[in-house]
Symmetry: D3
Subunit: 121 residues, 6 copies
């Protein structure tokens, strides 16, 4: 699935969930945005924490989301790989298949950025 | 993967596993059916418990199975979303990608039901 | 740890977390109460779903909480064991050590109830 | 908790679960014994697989059980540490706290064996 | 995804990760190969332990890898199913969807072996 | 268990593991230290990532370790709670029991720091 397809499905379904879900569903989604907003910690640090959490819990869609957000916030390849290393050592080799897909996505993002394309989610 | 494709693969492989597996494999599969049968708790309550367990353990195929079974047993959209809310709060935002696919499937099921198609597994 | 000790530590720390935590922390805790309130599904069904989710995720403190709540709402031993069976088959034998502690707690609760003691959390 | 205390609680609670549980609970427990019996694979290989599974799923009680069983079946320290290495690499550094307790237990077992005490479960 | 596609993507991405990763990334990958080499335990026992660990942690790519390696090392269908049984009982019914894909792969491998094709990774 | 007891057991067992373990065990432990060293990302960011990873994987000993390390590196209460919020939303309410113990430990650490005691691990 390309990044564009991922984003399209994500947006379509989030919209449906927020429309059909209960008030609690909506509150959960709001809270899920709120915790990553700038506080004492920067947005970038929070997104990196979200990325590592997603890697050790092995959720490809969450990894995709946080990699795009981190890239948007100017995370360098060096910083990405240091975050990947923490996830690898904490979570073990079962992380590796997700890392392969993460690095593949990162490459797609860098290609888009080279061509001057806006990368966001 | 459509619901029809899911069911076809599931049935084909279950058959193979039961044919090639050991006596213990067969016993496990039998037990896996037995625990959801009506007891003091209704089948619907048991399937809802199975659905929430599958959501927090993030197993898409298991979620698909229990959503079909719950729909078969007359679970309403309101009941589904209250079960989703429990899974979301217990399991956290890593559940969301699975919830997107679950809500997409639920929509497919509701479409089938509107057209008078039998939904079962 | 006895049920009384569990409750004392839980209350003391929840108070601290709600006092020192951010607005988002408080919102999460509020939401965590809200999803178990009576809706289309009964409180008991929701607590049973919470119990099975806690069992398959193997969180002893969460299991303790939901067993007390389920007992408060009139769950019978037969119903408890049918819920345990679903958790066992979904989550596997790694659930068993938690089941041992759960059954031990259930016995403590039944003793309290026999002596006319109020069981709540 | 000493090995003796672990065994006493385990036996007492297993007995209660088998007495109070449903027919399905009993079947699950029977199956849990059956899969480790000698088949084409030896008991020792099966217990080593159970040990590694328990380590990566981070269940201390399950680890204790399988270490005792492996020791009973003549597993050497070298073999134990090679199994620990597989668990460490697959499951990551979150295994380490469990490994500390596992090595502590293994030492207790070796002491018992030196003093001619029977180690079993 | 066919086994050939899986291998092609795996090799391409491993190469990239080892080129772009840090020294620690490379060390982790080296260690991940080292623990499965023959020691006091045979390669086959180690790969079977890796397979069961991958099954209970529900990582399809890891399962694929270890099934190919086990097949390469002469694991029989009987041995595979005894390992599957241990994973099923430890990890529960959420393993079943992965088992379906595992048995499907095993069939593909046996077909290749019948046609005299070399199976390796 | 007090922080002092935790540290004593941790050091004693790490020493034993490094003495009795294989070369691969030692390499894993070395790598586990290496990934948290200052790189492009600061030590503090890496420890915060380690803390969030430990929280969502629900490993109390790992949480203890990273909280001490973060406190050593000057993490403020505000920063801790923002990290806790990310872990809570990603990992869900099953994190809460670990959060209670984490906040309890943080209080013990702040007490030590007030009394001029060195906090380290």
């Amino acid at each position: 699935m390309s990044l564009a397809e991922f984003k399209a499905f994500r947006e379509k379904m989030n919209e449906k969930i927020l429309k059909e879900g209960t008030l609690n569903t909506k509150r959960f989604f709001n809270l899920d945005s709120a915790v990553y907003r700038k506080g004492t910690l920067s947005e970038k640090t929070k997104e990196l924490m979200g990325l590592v959490a997603s890697l050790v819990l092995r959720c490809d869609d969450c990894i995709t989301y946080h990699i795009v957000r981190c890239a948007q916030l100017g995370t360098s390849d060096e910083e990405f790989f240091e975050a990947f290393d923490v996830a690898l050592i904490v979570g073990g080799s079962i992380i590796i298949p997700h890392l392969r897909r993460a690095v593949n996505l990162l490459e797609e993002i860098r290609e888009m950025q080279k061509r001057g394309k806006d990368v966001h989610i």
